[in-house]
């Protein structure tokens, strides 16, 4: 599995805007190998759950996960991963199986208006969740929406925080107070 760096500063990047995006604490260490990713479906749950250290509060059983990913969805994910690789040293590859993946993504009902959640990088398999019932999911095949929807989640997977906007005021969600290996953030 890809290694994890610890003791990553959460500030001191020369700009308050950059500082506000970096979670700090952990980040991927890609000096040895790229991040292995997998699009999980119901039948992968048992194997992935073992690598993950058990189910999660979002995904408790195979029945909660969708059974397929469409080709359009796969393409949209590929596009957004390519965006990340194109700007920085992050590298991704498709895992051989759900069990050997560093990150497994699931289509799962989240509720509460959330469109996605993601666990931040820590040792062990990380899970990210996308809600296909969210209105914006139908636009995933458009370039812009594919990027907006999917790359936000991967931003969190990469160690970035998410901001939201109300009018012209940027609201920075309280985040550093959240620590621990299962930290995730609703993408409302």
């Amino acid at each position: 599995m890809a290694d994890i760096r610890t003791s990553v500063p959460g500030s001191g990047y020369g700009s308050i805007y950059i500082d506000s995006l970096v979670w700090g604490g952990t980040a991927w260490d890609l000096t040895k190998e790229p991040i292995k990713v997998w699009l999980g479906i119901g039948e992968d749950f048992a194997e992935a759950s073992q690598a993950h250290g058990g189910p999660s509060d979002v995904l408790e059983s195979a029945d909660d996960a969708a059974d397929e990913w469409t080709q359009d969805e796969v393409n949209a994910f590929g596009y957004a991963l390519g965006l990340y690789e194109s700007v920085c040293g992050l590298r991704f590859t498709v895992a051989e199986s759900a069990g050997e993946a560093d990150i497994v993504w699931w289509k799962v009902q989240l509720g509460g208006g959330a469109v996605g959640r993601h666990e931040i990088p820590v040792p062990g398999q990380r899970w990210g969740y996308f809600d296909p019932s969210a209105e914006s999911w139908q636009y995933l095949v458009s370039v812009a929406t594919a990027s907006t929807r999917s790359s936000k989640n991967w931003g969190m997977a990469s160690g970035l925080r998410i901001h939201t906007m109300a009018g012209r005021r940027t609201i920075i969600r309280p985040s550093r107070a959240s620590t621990g290996s299962s930290r995730s953030e609703p993408m409302a």
Partner: protein, 277 residues
Amino acid sequence: MSYNTGWNVTQNGIDHGAQGGLGAFDIAALQALYGPNMSTATGDNTYVLPTFSDYVGEEGWFCIWDAGGQDMLDAGHALGPVALDLRAATRQSHDPNAGGFISWEVGVAGGFTIANGVVIENATGGSHSDELYGNFAANVLKGNSGQDRLWGDAGDDILYGGTGKDTLTGSSGRDAFVFDKKPSKKSNMDRISDFNRKDDTIRLDNAAFKKIGKAGKLKSKYFEAGSKADDRNDYIVYNKKKGILYYDADGSGKGKALEIASLKKKLKLTYEDFAVI
């Protein structure tokens, strides 16, 4: 990372006008953690501005990460006025342009910003009244038609107003102002706002100014600084009192001199301030 649907001064919805790529802060933060990818877009790339035109078709906001080459923002197909801004996101705290300078066609919910550390060298406007801003590098800015406003910013820039009554500002650096269209006081007379004799040059295309000879330096006998041409080969005349530069195809003959551009008054222009291209 942001959940904004799009830039809040343009129309946007869940299906259009959204961010089509990573933003300038996203890129900077990712690079802070993982280093920049210096193998991306190292060739000479042209970034075509999203427009209403079916020719381009795609809308959304994109921040450009480009690691090298001679690159261009192109709005040649725009159906309305555009702003093309080659300045990169500053990242600086409390700077309104920390996240970038917007390049867009007015009314279109999509366009570009440029990530910190990226240099896009050139910009080409469309057929409307455009605004083009250079950066610290040596830029080639082309307004094309319309009443354009061009700012070279720092660097040794080359500014082409094209047709229309354009305003050209070189700013610092050794800038060149190019005139390659037939002059017309009514429809194609530009203004050079900051000509600096020490550094800048006016380039005249002999396809539009047929009398001025071969490419190279302008011959001294073809230039006159005064109220009008003194002899038959004073083809380029600078009227100090008015600050107007003329082309007079028959010199002191009866033909009317055509206004090329207005400059500051009382400049000490000589033939050495011109080049023939």
